[in-house]
Subunit: 164 residues, 2 copies
Amino acid sequence: MPSRPRQATPAQAEFDTADRLHSAAIHLLRSLRIEDRTSGLSGPRLSALSVIVFAGPLPMSGLALAEQVQPPTITKLVRDMEREGLVERVRDAHDRRVLMVRATDRGRALLQEGRRRRVVRLAAALEKLPVADRKLLARAARLIDRLARPPAVGSRPPERGEAP
Amino acid sequence: MPSRPRQATPAQAEFDTADRLHSAAIHLLRSLRIEDRTSGLSGPRLSALSVIVFAGPLPMSGLALAEQVQPPTITKLVRDMEREGLVERVRDAHDRRVLMVRATDRGRALLQEGRRRRVVRLAAALEKLPVADRKLLARAARLIDRLARPPAVGSRPPERGEAP
DNA sequence: ATATTTAGTTAGACCAGCTAACTAATTCTA
DNA sequence: TAGAATTAGTTAGCTGGTCTAACTAAATAT
């Protein structure tokens, strides 16, 4: 979609790259979403469950922060996942306002499976690429994720269980 | 969120990369979506409008194909964008079943502006990266987009205005 | 002339996100 | 220490994007 008429804007190259990344992300997620119906785990759920499993039990607010969404979004997400037995909410003893979320065994198991399903097609496509391209994408993935969390840059104390 | 226990699976490295790309795409789009409210153009709209502008007037079905979504999704998307004066639908004279979609001047103008808005934060972040990283991301964006359109691979003739 | 195929829409569902307004628990302060 | 302010989370209600199933209308094939 890019390849628009060049104008003498500063940072035109960066703009184009940003634009292409944007499109690529949309198309990537759309193509992955095909697997949702069978796996029962959408992208956002998979992503949240992943945080819950690997960043240990954490408060609702922590999850909202990690996922970069507003609290009500997390309320709904966790409520639905709780209904399906993937996570549990436990009232914190020290501060009875906070609810700690943790994964159930079933949640842990489904994370593996769901992730495999959702990502397997992409992984298969990756296998067909030349080694250099695969390496490039591995590095790019890390870069993008760092780039995509601008409010956090340098300002958010690392969450429990988060890589330093 | 990856960094899971290594198992001796074939293609473990590709799986991890795919997983990371998945997360990165989710977080990227979430971070970009913040600009939506001000621009009036969400990701999907921006993406569709971009196709309409640069791939010229095209039938609804062509847009659905390009965007990799089902026809009803396009019906709604285009209907809403038409309401806002961004695109028009014209009955094709030769085959009166098909509706050609084309951008209005207003649509064209808003595309520029909306894209700028939505992507400007990311572009700014890119500018702060070392040159090598920027180049890497530019290449990665193209790779990802190609990867993410598996049904089209090799089968779709390049659209007008699309880089060859 | 009818049957089949194709393009698009409508209806109805679901999920993910938001803001605004609320409750309950905690902490601050006068 | 009583009341005010803050914090954690929920509820209600909206928008948007996506899907499938069932439909209409036009074109094509038998």
